[in-house]
Amino acid sequence: MERGESERIEITISSRFENIELVQVIAEHLCENAGVDEDGSHWIGMAVREAVANAIKHGNKLDVRKKVNATFELTGSDLEIVISDEGEGFDPSKVSDPLNPQNLMKTSGRGIFYMKTFMDEVHYSFHPGGGTSLVMTKNLAKGSGIATTKA
């Protein structure tokens, strides 16, 4: 994509787990088309997967009548992803830290952590009439993926 160009993609799905991959694939293709390498695209796709899974499970509580909306907006190398549900929201401050030793062996609670690991910024907005929007941003020019480990 040339400097200054922009691209916007939007998709709305019903709250079924089998729809998660549709949204993930869009994210990965958008990133690959923007020149992000395979690993980088994968990690952004995974952040999207986690966000959509949370919207379906915790936001819409698996109610298939409720929708999850995803928008991807790429402006130059700045990617903004918004995942919105129709749920009642939650208190982000009450989300436990999965790296805390007392939480290490918990079977859940890592989704938001992974999103924050793979994206530059993650924040929520709660709508007065109901519904939560998760906004994630990533500067694709800075390089993607995670670099916390190596064998």
């Binding site: 998660i20 994968h42 986690e50 899974a53 790296l99 290490l104 079977t107 952590f113 916390t148 480990t149």
Partner: protein, 111 residues
């Protein structure tokens, strides 16, 4: 997700193929481990070499499997960890929990 099992020197080797993700392989993994443990097979080697996708739910089920087996006096170890799964275990520090092997014979011998 597809799971196949075989035994070697008293170790139950469970090979997982495909996705371990929310609503797909996560609950299947729980069933496979529960069935093995309930039939007295508590030394389990999970071969993850053919796992194509895993998410936080799948990671959670790996943790739950570890706890289930350990609580029954057994051991659960991992074999052939794909690179991306390895990264996911590292960033959450879960790599410190699991014993991971690249060689099946070595892994079996370690029980």
């Amino acid at each position: 997700m597809k799971a196949t099992t075989r035994s070697a020197d008293g170790v139950e080797i469970i090979t997982l193929q495909g996705k371990i993700t929310i609503g797909a392989g996560d609950t299947q993994l729980r069933e496979v481990i529960t069935n093995a443990v309930n039939s007295g097979k508590t030394n389990i080697l999970l071969d993850l070499g053919e796992v194509t996708t895993i998410d936080s739910s799948g990671i959670g089920e790996l943790v739950g499997s570890y706890t289930t087996v350990t609580n029954r006096g057994g051991k659960l170890k991992l074999l052939h960890l794909p690179a991306k799964l390895n990264e996911l275990l590292h960033v959450t520090q879960l790599i410190t929990v699991f014993e991971v092997y690249d060689n099946e014979a070595e892994a079996v011998k370690s029980f």
